[in-house]
């Protein structure tokens, strides 16, 4: 099965939040009461019951004010730090290259929460499990589009084969010109959500410029894990070899201590 990509063209997003709502509807995630904290962004961040959120950002340039809207959700990394650390196998790659989550297996250890370079997974104290966008696995596996893509009225969100989506993305970035770029295909071995960013990545709130699997995760999973197996083999094998080559220590009291009495 070919890899699929959700393309998110921010130049076309009007901040209508249809995707945010469609996600809640399909995944049955009723909203909770929130408070206004001085911005249109609501809720303030990704939550256990909000798997995609439109980030609202106001920037002023040369006296003019501009609105930035960013559909923020799981990036579905190929080299996914969350999958790498998950001890239970709850997080896994699907045949579409996306990262889904088998909730029944999740033990709520929160290791993925801290591994993700995009800080996406959210811990839900009510279920004692972690949850995130699964690219609507139940839908895409039945040849439907993800709910958010389906709901998007402007065509900012699209879903399709990797090759086709990348072509569209690069053509669009070229068309936009200036600082416009494609974001996602060049790091963590390629993400399965990619952006067309009209501005430099650094401008966007909470969007890492050079995301990568954290070094601590690489040291932990790629180095220390094999090293500890090697060490385990080393000490077990070493002890055995010591026993048969050098032999155990003689504590029975030979030599000049032979005549000493006691405990024999």
């Amino acid at each position: 099965m070919s890899e699929k990509i959700k393309l998110c063209d921010l130049s076309k997003c009007t901040g209508c939040r249809g995707c945010q709502l469609a996600c809640k509807q399909w995944n049955q995630l009723p909203a909770k009461q929130t408070v206004n904290y001085g911005t249109y962004q609501n809720p303030p961040d990704l939550q256990p019951n909000t798997w995609n959120v439109i980030r609202f950002q106001e920037i002023s340039e040369n006296g003019a004010v501009d609105w930035l809207f960013r559909h923020d959700a799981c990036m579905h990394c190929t080299d996914a730090a969350c999958v790498k650390v998950c001890p239970s196998g709850a997080l896994y790659h699907t045949k579409y290259g996306t990262v889904a989550l088998d909730s029944a297996k999740c033990i709520g250890c929160k290791e993925c929460v801290f591994a993700c370079p995009f800080e996406v997974p959210r811990y839900d104290p009510e279920t004692d499990k972690v949850i995130k966008c699964d690219m609507c696995y139940s839908r895409i596996d039945n040849a439907m589009q993800p709910a958010c893509v389906k709901a998007c009225p402007t065509g900012a969100l699209r879903f399709g084969d990797k090759k086709e989506m990348l072509q569209i993305a690069y053509a669009r970035a070229k068309e936009l010109g200036g600082d416009a770029s494609v974001y996602g295909d060049t790091f963590v071995d390629g993400t399965h959500m990619i952006y067309v960013l009209p501005r430099k990545a650094a401008v966007y709130d909470r969007l890492p410029e050079k995301p990568r699997v954290p070094f601590s995760v690489i040291a932990w999973k790629d180095w220390l894990k094999p090293l500890s197996l090697l060490a385990a083999g080393g000490v077990v094998g070493g002890a055995f070899l010591h026993y048969i080559i050098h032999g155990p220590k003689d504590t029975s009291g030979g030599g000049d201590q032979a005549s000493r009495e006691g405990g024999e």
Partner: protein, 212 residues
């Protein structure tokens, strides 16, 4: 009991030793079950990975006081290197690796055992601090929590390696050692080989306990 046996540990030392040893073994086995997917099967007898995680976390709570008492009990005898005898011992690796005519006499614990003490004391504290943060990570800075997992895995690597050497040398590698931590009594010849300097000092000060 046979006559002439020598007392090397009191009951409090033995209780602390076994609380620490058993909790540490449970922590290593349950940790292994979470560390490698191929060891996930360790969770089957306890009804799943979630239970294994809880067993690991709560056994950690037994390990914490055991380690603290162990450090309090043993730091004087096993935590301080004494020169020159310890250096002499290190030069010949205590006679454990090649034949040595006369192994330099050391106190109650030899430098190998002192290294083990330090590995357990230092990395034990590392395991406790990192483990507690990993258990309740929400609210700590992301970058800090990320390194906790790495340090916890490093500690596992060190503790497991030393643990197995300790297990070997405490049993078949040095016959007669197990009773030191089971009953507290060892043979005189064992004490003469394992802690000659300590034995002499205890005899001279008249503090040595010998079975009648």
């Amino acid at each position: 009991m046979k006559k002439g046996m020598i007392k090397v540990s009191d009951s409090f030392e033995r209780i602390v030793h076994w609380c620490m040893a058993i909790s540490c073994i449970i922590l290593m086995i349950s940790g292994l079950g979470m560390m490698f997917h191929s060891f996930n099967f360790i969770a089957i007898p306890v009804g799943g990975l979630k239970n294994l995680k809880l067993i690991h976390n709560f056994t950690g709570l037994v390990f914490i006081p055991s380690l603290l008492f162990a450090i309090l009990i043993w730091w004087k005898e096993a935590g301080i290197f004494r020169f020159p005898e310890d250096l002499e011992w290190i030069k010949v690796a205590g006679g454990y690796l090649w034949h040595v005519d006369k192994v330099p006499e050391t106190g109650k614990y030899n430098p190998g055992q002192k290294a083990f003490f330090w590995a357990v004391a230092f990395f034990g504290v590392v395991m406790i601090v990192t483990g507690l943060i990993m258990w309740f990570p929400l609210g700590f800075p992301v970058k800090l929590v990320r390194w906790m997992y790495t340090l916890h895995a490093l500690g596992f690597f060190v503790i497991f390696s030393f643990f197995f050497v300790h297990l070997y040398l405490g049993t078949v590698g040095v016959p007669g050692s197990v009773s030191a931590i089971l009953t507290g009594w060892v043979t005189r010849s064992w004490a003469e080989k394992q802690c000659p300097k300590w034995l002499k000092e205890m005899e001279e000060s008249g503090k040595l306990e010998v079975s009648e």
